[in-house]
Symmetry: C2
Subunit: 217 residues, 2 copies
């Protein structure tokens, strides 16, 4: 059993090289403007299926970047997704990340309406000043509620990252979002997760961060 | 596109039913004492591969339960894994969850020794009173450091949950832990993640919680 000798700071770079090599071996060419996102999701999951299932609405990446440059708020459905987002990089862009799942008023609203707390937390988020990016890695009910709020004209997200994981209504909820005019990044099928949601946010953030770095130099 | 009508509180139950059905269709029978753990990981990832790759040392589940009943401390390598652990259930068992990755002394020790911060955070955890459960979902370097501390006689974990994900030294680090005498739950191969680490912790916790419930009734 041999270990690869890679310095701590180079592990991510080496991982991305391996992912690039294996994608090439599989005959997969990623679209240039989305490659950094798809590769970061594969890096986070070791699951090459995402090269096939990650689906982007037209200009989604561009619009996401625009929102982040304008100091977007990222709203997550779980503490875990919130926890995985690189807040330092987000704050450098004057953005912030919010999660309302544990809020008492959300629990109360959920009880009143027979919603999940995840769904009720979307209502609370809808009143935030924009631009809003929703990163949903767990609850299909959050996606369904977003769809309703959009249809009712109460919400116009800059981007929906729709990657809940699971077996009940997950596939359907993702397809619902793909019917809207809202920019989206969706992992078709059952797979996804809070880690995937955070990875997509971070891929968008790191891309902006490095382009900022280049402008400075 | 049809949605399944399932009440919020029943979504998890229904998911577990579907997982059970599909495992049966695949001809997979899970060992009774580990089924709740494997099914919760599949629930978290929608990835049936874990039915094959999750590997348990002899009596690992029993020993984990023993440690949790004795008020174990769960140490994670990431904030995300920490964030996914059900702290309320853990506290009901008089346990707690720790993560040291952002601590200044850990950053300093990492710089001094040329470690990753994940590895350095294991040294800090080694001085905690036991029983200690390590839940490693991200950093193979944390697993390698645990191996060294165990070999040096400086650490005797009650359980290692070794499920880092990735492409560099992940497979090797997991195999290293499987060479020790320490109880382990390992996801062989590249896959895993902070979400998987948290799911395994929660499966162990919920099992104890429900058996407590049954004893009371």
């Amino acid at each position: 059993m041999e270990f690869e000798h890679v310095k701590p700071m180079d592990i991510e770079k080496r991982s991305m090289e391996i992912i690039g090599q294996e994608l090439a071996e599989k005959g997969i060419t990623l679209p240039a403007d989305k490659a950094h996102i798809i590769k970061r999701v594969i890096h986070t999951t070791a699951d090459f299926e995402y090269a096939d299932t990650l689906t982007f609405s037209e200009h989604a990446v561009e619009k996401a970047k625009e929102a982040l440059r304008a100091g977007a708020t990222i709203v997550t459905d779980t503490k875990m997704a919130w926890s995985g987002i690189n807040k330092r990089t987000l704050e450098n862009l004057h953005g912030k990340a919010c999660n309302f799942i544990s809020d008492e008023d959300v629990a109360e609203a959920a009880r009143q309406h027979g919603f999940t707390r995840s769904a009720a937390s979307m209502d609370k988020a809808a009143s935030l000043p924009g631009p809003l990016i929703f990163a949903i890695g767990n609850a299909p009910t959050a996606l369904i509620r977003l769809y309703e709020l959009i249809e009712e004209g109460k919400l116009a997200p800059a981007l929906i990252i729709g990657v809940p994981v699971g077996f009940v209504n997950v596939v359907q909820a993702k397809e619902l979002i793909m019917e809207t005019d809202v920019p989206y990044i969706i992992a078709r099928g059952r797979k996804g997760g809070s880690n995937v949601a955070a990875a997509i946010c971070n891929a968008l953030l790191y891309d902006l961060d490095s382009s900022r770095g280049m402008k400075k130099s």
